[in-house]
Structures are given as C-alpha cells and as structure tokens.
Symmetry: C2
Amino acid sequence: MYVVILAGGSGTRFWPLSRTKTPKQLMSVFGGRSMLQRTVERVLPLAPERIMVVTNSLQAEETARQLADLGSFPVDVIEEPVGRNTAPAIALAAALIASRDPGATMLVLPADHYIRNEEEFCRVAAAACQAAESGALVTLGIEPTRPETGYGYIEADTAASGTGAYPVRRFVEKPDAARALEFLAAGNFYWNSGMFIWRVDAIRGELSRQMPELSAAIDTLQLGAGWDSASLRPQVERIYPGITGESIDYGVMERANNVLVIPASFGWSDVGSWSALPEVIESDSDGNVAIAARGLISLGSSGSLVYGNNKMAALVGVKDLIVVDTPDAILVCRQDRAQDVKKVVEELQRNGLTDYL
Amino acid sequence: MYVVILAGGSGTRFWPLSRTKTPKQLMSVFGGRSMLQRTVERVLPLAPERIMVVTNSLQAEETARQLADLGSFPVDVIEEPVGRNTAPAIALAAALIASRDPGATMLVLPADHYIRNEEEFCRVAAAACQAAESGALVTLGIEPTRPETGYGYIEADTAASGTGAYPVRRFVEKPDAARALEFLAAGNFYWNSGMFIWRVDAIRGELSRQMPELSAAIDTLQLGAGWDSASLRPQVERIYPGITGESIDYGVMERANNVLVIPASFGWSDVGSWSALPEVIESDSDGNVAIAARGLISLGSSGSLVYGNNKMAALVGVKDLIVVDTPDAILVCRQDRAQDVKKVVEELQRNGLTDYL
C-alpha cells in the first residue's frame, strides 16, 4: 500500500495562524505536531511502501522540513506549481506510483483532517485496502453524529450483502438543514470524508475514461521507475498550467462504475474553521479550550477557544469567543462568525497587507 | 514653583500591560510616551524650579530611565521602600523642598492621569499657584460632565466672592448614582482630581497639626540644603516601615482650615481601568479604538478597545470588548467587567504565577 497525502490546501479560515506559507495542514493547530505530521504518524502503523505528499511549491520547503522532523521513512514530496484541486494531484500521484509498482494500492488522505481514534482508523483503512483488491474505488464514509450541513454525503446501498463495504448509490452535495435531518434519520447516509483507497490501475482506468484530457497530460510525463522529485519538477511545471482544476468527487467518483463505501466511526472532523476545534479538543468545565497557552484564567467566561502563542491568557466576562494570538497578528471572533475569518484575509489582500497573508 | 509627581502606584487594573515593575504610570498606555512622561512634559511649560518624582524602589530604575529619555531638566527621583499612600509621600517631598527653599510653592500631581487640553491645564495651574500664595491649600476640582460614581467630589461655596478659587465646604466620598445626579445638578460639586497646590510651609503646618506622628518621623531626617537622593535613601528606608499609610485627602484635606478649590475643565480622566480609555482616545466610526496596533480590521464589530502590541488586529462579530496583547500575556475582557481585571492579578498571585505579575 502507498499513501498519498494531499497537502496543497491554502485554507484561510484559520488566519492568523494559517498563512500562505503555513496553511492549515502545516499549522500546529493543536499546539504540538502539525496536522500534516499527525496525518503521517497516523498511517505509519500501516507500514506503507512509501508515503507521497503532494503540496504546492510555496509550501514545499516547510512541508519537507516537517516531514524530516518526524524521523526517517520513505517519503516523496511532490510539488505542484499551481493548485488544481484534487483530481490532478491524484492522477499525478497514481501515475508516479504506477511507474514504480503497477499493481499497487493507494490510500488517499487529506493532510488537514482530525481523527480521534487512530487505531480504529488503521483498522478501517486495512479493511478498505482489502475491499479495493477487487478493483473497486473505495471511499470512507463517516457515520454522521449530527445533521451537519457543512459536509457532502454519500448514500450507500446498505441492503446489498457485503463485508462492511457497500455499493454507493450517489454522492450528495452539502444539504440544507431539513435534508441533513432526513439523511441522519435514514441511516444509510455517510459524510464524504475525502479519504479514498483504490488500485492505481483502477483509478487510472476511470481517470482516462472520465477525464481524458487530464490523463493525456499526465501521460506526457517521462516517468521511469527511477524518477525522482528533482527531475520531475520541470515536467510538472510544464503540464500543470494547462490542466483544468477539478475535484476527484466531481471529476470521477460521482460517475464511476464500481464505487464502494466503508462506514467509519473514528471521531473524524475536517476541522473546517476555528469553531470546529472545541468539537475535537476536550474543554474545561466552563467549556473553554486553551491551546498553546501557558495557562488560562477564566473569570465568568465560557465556551471560548484561546490559541495562546505560548502566553498566559485571561478571559473576563466573555462567552463563545475565538481568540488567536500569533507573533504578528491577533484575532478575536465570535464562535458563530468563524466562517467570516476568510473575509479578514480578503480584507488584508484588498489592502495590500501581504505581510499578514 | 516645584512640581511633585506621585508615581508610586501599583495599579493592577491595567494588567497585562501594567506589571509590578511597570505599573500604569510607566506604561505606554497610549502607544507612545508613558503616562509619567506625559505628566512631566505637561508641566515643563510651567518652568518649575525642580521636578520631584516620588516612586517606590521597585520602579525607581525604570522611572529614572524614562525621565532621562525625555531630555535634560532638573529632576529628583525619590524612592519609597514601601508604599504608604499619598500623605507620607507629600510630607517627605514638602520637607525636601523646604530644606532647599522654605518659601516655595509645590504643585502635587498624580503621574497616571490623562489631560486632554494641556494649555488650559497650565493656565489653571498658574492660577492655582497665585491662589496658594495666601497660604491656602488649593485643590483642582474638575467640572463634572456626567454623574460619575467612580470619583470623589468636592463641594464648593460658590456663593463666596472669589477670583475663580472658592472655599471648600466638604470632601465627599464616591457617591451612589442618585447622589451623583444630585451633585451634577447642583452645579457646585467638582471631581476630586488629586491635584493640589500649596506653599510648603502651609502644608507642613497642617501636617504637623493633623498628622503629628508622620511629621515627627519626617523631621528626624537629616536634610541639609544639599541633600541628594543617594544619601537620602537609607534615611527614608529607616523611617518608612514605621509610618502609617494614609491619603492626603483623609489625613489632611478633609479637616484643614483654609482649603480652596479651583474649578478646572481641561478634559481630565484618572484612567482608572481599560474601559476609561475609549473616553479619552478618539474611536473610529464603529466606536473601536486600536492602540499600539499595526492596523485594525473590524468586521461587524463595535465599541471595542484593542491594545495590539505592534500587531495587526482583527475583530469579527464582537462588541464592547477589551483586548490586550503583551509579549507574555493576553487579556480579553468585557468592557463592563474592566474593574475585574484586578481579580485576574489576584488569581495569578494565588497561583504563584509571579512571572506574570
């Protein structure tokens, strides 16, 4: 099994901690290891043949530094000169793996998700690997715990007999509240986690059927089994500007022939904004969470998250706030406005305040 | 005229910016000069014979550094080994001045007050100096602009004919809201600013009459006209521990014989807590104030104060907050809880977190 970690994101909703050069996946959002580092550590027990991290060239240096920091294991850092969403990154990774090992299975993981129960994750990933042996495209579907409107859903044909992997009826975009409630009640809808497992020949077959232009561009790469990332870079720089951005869900999964979903329940979150952190980090008795702080003194304060930049923090009489301190910027935001943090980034861009991006 | 600046305060309500070694008067609370420095600059146009800054030994070094930073002028820094409130500091200063110039007039100023109109301040101080020639104890009474319950009041006998200086009927402690309204309506009540002017022989006479123990202790000091602060220090250290702490208001003014008040209106605030700053610093159109910040991005936020520690600050969806960032601590506090910041300091003390005090 090869592991492909998609680490090219440029999430702005974690400003001021996330920056152009250190986006969400490279941030120490929980105070210790970055999300990328935690993603890598999570798959190491699966003893992958090789780990491939696909990132963009702006972040490649910091990505390599963080990987080296974890110790020694077989890893390639693949640089995209521009972001083109997930389908091109996956097509490139599949081609690179196929050039070394045409019969390999690849596990695709976003670099910036949270998983509480890592053992259960490994168990499910191993089961998915087995299910993928047949040539199916396997996706991990998270058992929903609430009528979430912020995730896409996967409808499974749970009537079909199976070994824990069910045929997928359809992928559903983010629903409104009423539909999310229906999905939760129905029992055969899962959150689309963006985690996939398949044989490289299977995904390459679907890519060439459904995304022939992308496949043709990837096929122009001169890849021997002995390719290395240095010689690869100019070739990738040549083809990427001409590639159309597309997600693997929309480009391949929604119309693929043989798609299975494996229900998973290991405490997952895509940690889409600061307000997602209290879901995944234990709070104190007042519902406050302090990360990277020397301490938190709370007087009549509750439901608040402080990212403390190694400082002593004090809250007096406040409720449901997000407070983030970094060496050059500070954010105070109401929990239910966490999505608007990206508007702060837009405002900085508009004003040419690039130092803070 | 000699100017005595009382700079021994240890205000905890401006934590985390105010610390044991840099209390409110030494803080750069407006982003530039400290309040002590602004107080000194304010009196320089009065061309005082000498400026005397009374502080405590913990803060003496930083006090001297800040004074040197302002340039060259005649100044003495007097160190108190322990704080004993205002009466002992004033008695000591009066004795020191008298040893050099027995007929001198002294202007007493707190180091940590804000005054908007500095020219008007100088005009009033000069008038007060004249009024003090007669031997009266003159106090500056601020014309109230609102029914403030946080200040003491001075009732004047405005029926008495006078040259802008009225006899004082009585000093009144901080009133409740109803009485504060009455005082405002009456028109002859003024805020007690803690600013005084008198001849040194006049105040020394009242001190020896009303506070004989304090006067006797001060009289044991060996002061020639050529005393200097180095030779003074061991003597002060000898007498201070035995001196009882008392305010000049309670110890002398309330029962003194010949007290005048000069009404003053120069945009004064004692800046008693973070929530006082928006009164004295102009806010933007959303009612936000940013101090020491590289910029402030406000999305749907209002009525908030940010002390930015030289950073970019962003507020999203918040209202009436105080946000203070310093190199090792951060505070977020609701405006109407600003008085409770001192409880944070108490909590730090209780937990032995002396690094943050």
